[in-house]
Every structure is written in C-alpha cells, then in structure tokens.
Amino acid sequence: MRASNLNFLVPLVALGLCGSAAGASELDEVMGLLAARQHGRVEFIEQHFLHILDRPIESSGELRYDAPDRLEKRTLKPHAETLLLAGGVLTVERARGRRVVDLRAYPQIQPFVESIRATLAGDRGSLERWFHVDFAGSLGRWSLTLVPLDSNVKRAVAQVRIDGIRDQLFKVEIRQPDGDRSLMTLRPAASP
C-alpha cells in the first residue's frame, strides 16, 4: 500500500531526524491545539532565583493572550506593573510611568519573549527559527525544551522549558547560563 511505497524514505528520515519523527508529529498536534486557541487568561506566580539576591523575588498576577501576538502580563503583587507585548513592541507600565521598548532593538531579549508567544500561538516555524526545539511526552502531558541557536542569545538564556497539558501551559522555566533561573507557574484564572 502507501506505506510500502514510502519505505525507501525510512532510512533518510532516521538519519535526518535521529528518531524524533514520532515526537515531531506529537509536537505538531500540540502546536495545532495551541494555534486553535484565540484567547487565554491564566493566573501566574513567578519566582526569580538570582544568586546575587538572598531570597527569590516573587510576583503574581494575570496573564492574557490574544492570538497571534498580543500578550499581556499584569503583575499585581508586590507592585502593580503591566507588561504588554504587541507587534514586537514591549510596553512597560508602572505606577511611576510608562516605558516603550522596541524589542527589535534588543536582539538578546526578543527570542526569550518569543519563546512564550510562539508557543502560545502554536507557531512552530518561529520557535525553530530561534531555538533548537526538543519535544517530550505526549499530548496529555508534554514538555518543550528550547535551546537558543544564536550565541548572543545563549549568553542571556541557556534554555526555556515549557510544560503543558494539551492546549494549557502550566509551567515556564527559564534558565540562565550563570545558574539563575525563573519559574512561572500558571493556573486557569479564578473568575472570567
């Protein structure tokens, strides 16, 4: 049948993808699910573990997402702050004023923000532009490990690990080369 006709491709696939062919198709399924979601709203708790600080900085708030490229991070504690990513521009709003950062001017940060946005958007192409993408698990419980391709970016971010269940993300961990890391835990927002 059809499978037998394609048999001759198997060695090539095995060679080129080092056996991750199965993972790739699962990844596509997860990406498909994520891409189908147009909006998302979750609560987050974020902890930054920095060796220079005596204890982790902890913040919490709400994360909103609108496909394909609007991501809003509203921190409520300990200080009110809104980070809005829209069309490549990051707007930081605090009690004492507003700052607009064009991410294109900071090539080191852009992929880091992109890792979360592209995952939420199910944009595999963009993920693979910036990262070596490693998929593990299954649709029911998956984890993506993203390692930056660019050496400049590598200096800022060693790897990003995103854990999820179907189309829901529940953990984002960012490791820096010096061992510092941040951990963001997500859960569905309490009220709509």
Binding site: E46, I52, P56, D102, A105, Q108, S182
Partner: protein, 800 residues
C-alpha cells in the same frame, strides 16, 4: 614715444597679463554654495552653515541591497570593521553591538554625572531604598536580564537611565546583528567623516574609502554568496561630490563643444585663420578679465560661473562678427574707421543695455548669481573695448574675410517676403501673441514660479528619494521643527538646553510635542555635572545610608561594595568633557545637535511630533519657552524658514530684474531721444520674453531664479538685434542692410547653438538657462526683424 595707435594694445596686453596671473592663482570651488544665500539673517546663516559645514553635512548614509539576508549582513559587518580603522571617519555605525560596547563603557563609567536621576536625595537612605527596590523589580522583567550582572555596581540603575535618556528617538531595527530597513531588504549604516561637508575633496576620498571597503568585504565572500549585493550611498557629502562631478563634466564639455562650434562658425564665415584668431580675441579677453574680476571681487570662483562662461561667448563673439562683417565693405583702415563712426555707437549702446541687464544680478542674494553678474558685466565691457580699440589696430593691411554680402542679400530678400505681410496683420499678430502669452501666464500664475530651493539643486529626484528612504529607515529623518538656543560658548548653550528641556517637558506630558532631543542628554553642562557630583555622599555616609536602605530588601549591603567604590571614584574624578565623548559613537549624535559658528555656539533641540499625529503648535512651544524664562531660545520650522528664504530671494531677484529693465529703458530713452523708437526697440524683446515664459509654463516647467536670469539674457542679447534694426531704419544707410542682417544672423546662430548646448547638460541650473535663452534669442531676432519699421516708400523703391 608710444604712438597713439599703440597705447590700446599695450594697455590690453598689460590687463591680460594681470588677469592671467589672477586667474591662475584664483581659488575655484564647485560645491553647492553658489545657490545658498550670501547675506542671511542669523537664523538663515545657521541653516546655511548647517547645510554646508554642520556635523549633519559630514554624515554619509549607506545601504547594502540585493543578495540574501546573510550576504548583506556579512558585507555590512566586514565593511564597517574595515572603515572603523580608517581615520577619515570619526564614526561608523551599522548597529552591530560591538559598536555600542565602547558607548556603554563610557555611559557606565560616567553614569553618576550623566544620569538625570542623580540627585542628593537619591543617595539618601530613603532614596536608595526606592531606587534599589526598583532595580530589583526590573530584574524580573525581560530587559532586567541584561542588567543583572551590573547590580552590585549599579544598584540604582543609572546605566539604564543614561541609556534611556539617549534612546528616546526611534532607532532602526536589527537583524543578524546589524541595522536593517523595516522590510529587512536593506542593511543600513552611518559614517561620519572627519572632513567638513564643504570639503569636496575630503568627502570624495571618504566615499572612495567606503566603496573600497565594500568591494573588499564583498570580495572576501565566496562569489556565489556575494552575487547581487550592492552598495548605495547618500548624504550631503555624496551629493556634493556628485554635484561637483556633474558640474565639472558640464563645464568641460560645454567649453569644448561651444569652442568648437564658435570656431567652426567663424571659420565658415571668415574663411581666414588670422580673422579667426582676431575674432576670438574679444571673447578670450572678456572671459579672462571676467574670471579675474570675479576672483578679485569674491575671493573664490564658483565652477557654475565658469559654466555660464558660454553665455559670454554667445554675446561677445557677436562684437567681432559685427566688426569684421560691417567694416568689410572697404577693406582698409578707412573701413575700420568708418565702422567706428557708423556702427560702434550702436554696439556700445547694445553693450550698455546688456550691462544694465546683468548688473541687476549684482545685488542678488545668491553668490552664484552675483558672480555671474560681475563676470558678464566686466567680460562684456572688456570684449567690447577690445573690439573697438584693439582689433582695428591689429588688423593687418589688406585684411579680408569672405564676402558675406550674398548671404546678407539672401536674408534680406527672405525678410522682404516676410515684410509683404501687411503692417496691420503683423501688429495684430504681435498684439495677439502678447495677449495670449499674458493670458497663459495669468492662468499659470499660481504655479508659475518654483518656490522650492531644491529646484536649483543639481541632485536628481532619484537621488533625493533614495536619501529620504534611507533617512526614514535609519530614523534619521530630516527634522523640520526644532528649538535653537545660542550662546557664546559650549557651556552656556548646554545650560540653556537643560533649561529648555525643563520648559519643554510639560509639553510632552500634554502631547503638544512627542518628545525632543538635546545635546545635554549626551553631555550635561559642567554646572549640572558639578551639582550631581557634589550631591554624592562620601564613602562613610553612603555606607551608612546603604545599610539603612537595604533593610527589607532581598540584598545585603555588603554585596554592593563595588557601588560604594564607584561612587567614591566619581567624587574624585574630573567632569565629563566633549573630548571624553569624542571617542565614542555617541559623539555623532551629540555633534549633530551642536553648531559652532565663528563666535557663536548653537544647540539644536529637534522636536518630535505628538502621538496624536497633529502638527506641532510652535506658538505653544514658544509660549512654554517664554514661561520657562529661557532666553536665547527660538522655536522654528526649518521647511518654512528655507521656503521663506528662497521665496524672499526670488522676489528680490524679480524686483531687481524689473529695475534693470527700467534702467535699460532709461538708457535707451537718453540715447535714442524718442519714445517711439524706444518702444520699437523694446517691443520684440518684451514679446519674446513673454512668449518664452508662457511656452515654458504650458510645457509644465516651473520657473526658477535661473529662468529669470535667462529672460534677462534674452533682453540683453536681443537688445543688440533690435538696436541694429533701429539704426538701420534711422541712419539712412540703406546699402548696408544686407551686411547688418548677415552679421545678426551669424551672431544669433552662435548664441542659439551656445545656449542650445546648455539645454543638454545634466545640471538643472544650466538647463534652465539654455531652454530659456536659446529659443528666446532666436525669437528676439525674428520679432525684431518683423517688427522693425518699414522702409520709407522712396527708399524701398530705390532698393528694389
């Protein structure tokens, strides 16, 4: 003893020798300043200086196009690293981060003097607590990652503040580590030359260096990868060099072409080499003395003035044509002498009317026009005098040129046929044509004159649009609204700039303006730096404050020892000077906002439009400056200023031209002593001027100041024709008509071909002149012939 015959040639030889020395030693320039105003107001002077020598004039914009993304980025990186080693450039930037490394080191080193946030309160326990907790909060945000490692040395985040206050203007986007256009199809960069913008040689060498670096960068890549990658350059220096090349090429080409034409024409007419040599004497003397006069009068000679030399050839060659042909009836000294009695007065009057026309250029605001005026006036007088006093003496005995009488007879009979058209018909046609031209000019009155200074620029539209595109991509768009503060030295204008900034800040909050740049953001005044430095607490005090400040924060004060050291170092360090800034690429940004004139310093604070997209309300800006008690500060719109500037000069030129016309009319009235004769002399001139102007308008050409000069030239050259016809009609010397006509037609052919050549040049100002004068001179002769008074019936019968 020197005989009476010999003094003229001797005097002439002396003058020529002197003029030759002056011309050989003169300084020639070919930049664009010929068409920048000479006696402007202080603000205009500022604009002109900015255009000519300002730091912005030293900026070369480059773009790399074609090929694939990687090939462009690679070429950009290799080219820039090569150029950075070249001392011809004070700054080369393509957005690569290594370029910003030294800048960041500079900002970091001097952060406690440069950051606007630094005050004594900020270093109190409470101030430190707020600043440090803010910085720690920042660490949680994406941008904070970049500054994490700096926390122990810079816990108050002054580096970020220093960067922020400089990056308030948009910067281009980065791809593959270098600046690219919004569509990613072009790699972009900036180079600032050490040579001043008006130093065309220096600019030319810098441009060659950039091209060579690009060629080397592309050559270093594999052929396939580099294929199709192209370099595009723009900027004031690039324009100046291109303009110079164009003008030089045009001048050389036109001189050769018109030389060949005149020689051919004269040889065809004279059939005699000695006659040719003698015939060129007035032209050559006129040109030489004209250039010498310009060199003596202005110190420098503009290349464009030499280009206009053709205009002089056009008219002064006429003098020798008139002389040879008109004195050829009797091939002897008596012939020359009778020429002096019969014809010289007419030529002298024609020369004087031309001088009236050209003299109206002398008060012009444009150095190029002033020079043209002086060149033409002295050149014409010299040529006429050489024709009158030198040529007759030098004529060899038995001198003869080809008899042009048959040619003259042919023309005369053609003219007779023309004249069979009834006088009433001719008058009707003339009035009709004049009325039509006036109606056309009236209909086009709104768009008749081009009030855009750029119309005079030898830069093509394509080059201008490339420049606009690159500027937009680089975020270096030409600013139109700005505040200028002036003062006697750098320190005073930096202080005024700081004061202006305080006055402008409420306008940013109210969205009257979107923001502004200031040189004080790069280099605060000594006073401000001193205030910041003296506000820094000593080591013991800071240590105590820090201990209190870190209570409740997730960082222990002993981790911030490097901070204590850096603050202490700053307390004993010298203040930052312009010299410190000079080693960084920030210097280009600073330099672009500072303009140093002779004894005047100016700081430019360009304003950005408000977020609402409205125009900036300069009245409100001015009110804010007044309220902020900022003296020596002025809010203005550059586009309005330069438009007003040019419109003013155009108006002035039109006024002077009309005055020149009045002077010419007065001269004719005195010489001819008959209003009717003056009207008859002027009618063909006015008619051809109106016809040419109307034709240009209908042809979609907007008239510039150079078209005005062209119209003036039509009057100057045409007046000779009209005067000869007038003389013919009033002298009773009927027999010489054929010779008069022959000399006029030959002279006219020379003028029309000379100016016709200009029309084919690449330089807009020369084209304007050519397309106006060539048809105008021809029409002037035609109209003068047709409108000339009819012969009295008796004389006509006798002639036939």
């Amino acid at each position: 003893m020197i005989s009476r015959r010999a003094w003229a040639p001797l005097l002439w030889l002396g003058c020529i020798a002197f003029a030759a020395i002056v011309v050989a030693r003169a300084h020639y320039i070919t930049d664009l300043s010929a068409f920048l105003p000479a006696n402007p107001t202080p603000i205009q002077q500022l604009l002109v200086d900015q255009l000519r020598d300002g730091p912005a004039s030293r900026l070369i914009l480059f773009a790399i196009e074609g090929g694939d993304d990687a090939a462009r980025a690679r070429a950009s990186v290799l080219m820039v690293s090569r150029l950075r080693k070249d001392t011809q450039f004070s700054m080369v930037n393509n957005g690569a981060t290594d370029a910003q490394q030294s800048d960041r080191e500079f900002l970091f080193k001097h952060r406690y003097l440069l950051s606007e946030a630094v005050t004594a309160e900020r270093f109190s326990a409470a101030g430190l607590h707020a600043a440090i907790s803010d910085t720690i909060d920042n660490l949680a945000s994406p941008a904070g990652l970049l500054f994490k490692s700096l926390l122990p040395r810079d816990p108050t985040g002054e580096l970020l503040n220093s960067i922020d206050q400089l990056s308030r203007s948009p910067s281009p986007m980065t791809q593959d580590g270098v600046w690219v256009s919004a569509d990613g199809k072009r790699c972009l960069g900036l180079a600032q030359t050490t040579a001043s913008g008006s130093d065309s040689d220096g600019q030319g060498m810098a441009i060659d260096a950039i091209r060579a670096a690009f060629a080397a960068a592309v050559g270093a890549a594999p052929a396939a990868a580099a294929s199709g990658v192209q370099l595009k350059l723009s900027g004031p220096g690039v324009f100046a060099v291109a303009a110079r090349a164009k003008i030089e090429k045009a001048v050389v080409r036109l001189s050769i072409a018109s030389g060949i034409l005149v020689v051919t024409l004269l040889l065809a007419v004279y059939r005699s080499l000695p006659a040719l040599g003698l015939g060129l004497l007035p032209v050559a003397s006129g040109a030489l003395i004209g250039i010498a006069a310009v060199a003596l009068g202005f110190g420098v000679v503009h290349g464009v003035t030499l280009g206009f030399g053709v205009t002089l050839i056009g008219e002064s060659v006429d003098y020798s044509i008139y002389f040879f042909i008109q004195s050829s009836r009797r091939h002897s000294g008596a012939g020359a002498r009778s020429w002096q009695q019969l014809w010289w007065p007419t030529i002298r009057l024609g020369m004087l009317t031309s001088v009236c026309g050209f003299a109206s250029l002398l008060p012009s605001g444009f150095p190029g026009l002033k020079q043209l005026g002086l060149y033409s006036v002295t050149g014409l007088i010299a040529a006429a005098l050489v024709t009158r006093f030198v040529l007759p003496v030098l004529l060899p005995a038995g001198f003869a040129i080809r008899d042009v009488a048959p040619l003259g007879d042919g023309i005369a009979s053609a003219l007779q046929r023309l004249r069979r058209i009834g006088a009433a018909t001719v008058a009707t046609l003339a009035v009709g044509l004049m009325a039509l031209s006036i109606v056309v000019l009236y209909l086009y009155r709104e768009s008749l004159w081009n009030r855009d200074l750029a119309a005079l620029s030898p830069i093509s539209i394509e080059e201008q649009s490339l420049d606009a595109k690159l500027r937009a991509d680089l975020g270096a768009a030409d600013v139109s609204d700005l505040v200028i503060v002036s003062g006697p030295d750098l320190e005073s204008i930096l202080r005024s700039a700081e004061q202006t900034a305080r006055a402008l800040r409420p306008l940013v909050d109210a969205d009257v303006i979107g923001g502004f740049e200031s040189p004080a953001n790069y280099l605060p005044s000594m006073a401000t730096q001193e205030a910041r430095r003296s506000g820094l607490p000593n080591a013991a005090e800071l240590r105590a404050n820090l201990r209190l400040a870190t209570v409740g924060l997730p960082i222990r004060s002993d981790r911030l020892l490097p901070f204590l050291e850096d603050v202490e170092a700053t307390r004993h360090a010298p203040l930052v000077t312009a010299r410190d800034l000079a080693g960084t690429s920030l210097n280009a940004g600073f330099d672009a906002l500072i303009l140093h004139q002779k004894d005047r310093w100016n700081a430019l604070l360009p304003l950005r439009g408000p977020a609402s997209g409205r125009e900036i309300d300069l009245a409100r800006v001015a009110a804010a400056l007044a309220a902020g008690d900022v003296h020596e500060a002025l809010a203005l719109n550059l586009k309005q200023q330069s438009d007003a500037l040019y419109a003013g000069y155009l108006k002035q030129a039109i006024r002077f031209s009309l005055l020149g016309f009045l002077a010419l009319t007065a001269l004719l009235l005195i010489a001819l002593r008959s209003a009717l004769r003056v009207a008859r002399v002027l009618a063909p001139l006015v008619l051809s001027v109106l016809t040419v102007a109307a034709s240009l308008a209908v042809g979609g050409v907007q008239l510039t100041i150079l078209h005005l000069v062209g119209l003036l030239l039509i009057v100057a050259v045409g007046s000779n024709y009209a005067l000869f016809f007038d003389r013919q009609a009033n002298s009773g010397d009927r027999g010489s008509e054929a010779l008069t006509l022959a000399s006029l037609v030959i002279a006219n052919a020379g003028t029309v071909t000379g100016f016709g050549l200009l029309a084919f040049s690449q330089v807009a100002v020369l084209v304007a002149l050519g397309t106006t004068v060539a048809p105008g001179a021809f029409l002037a002769l035609l109209f003068a012939a047709i409108l000339s008074p009819r012969e009295a019936p008796r004389a006509a019968a006798g002639h036939a």
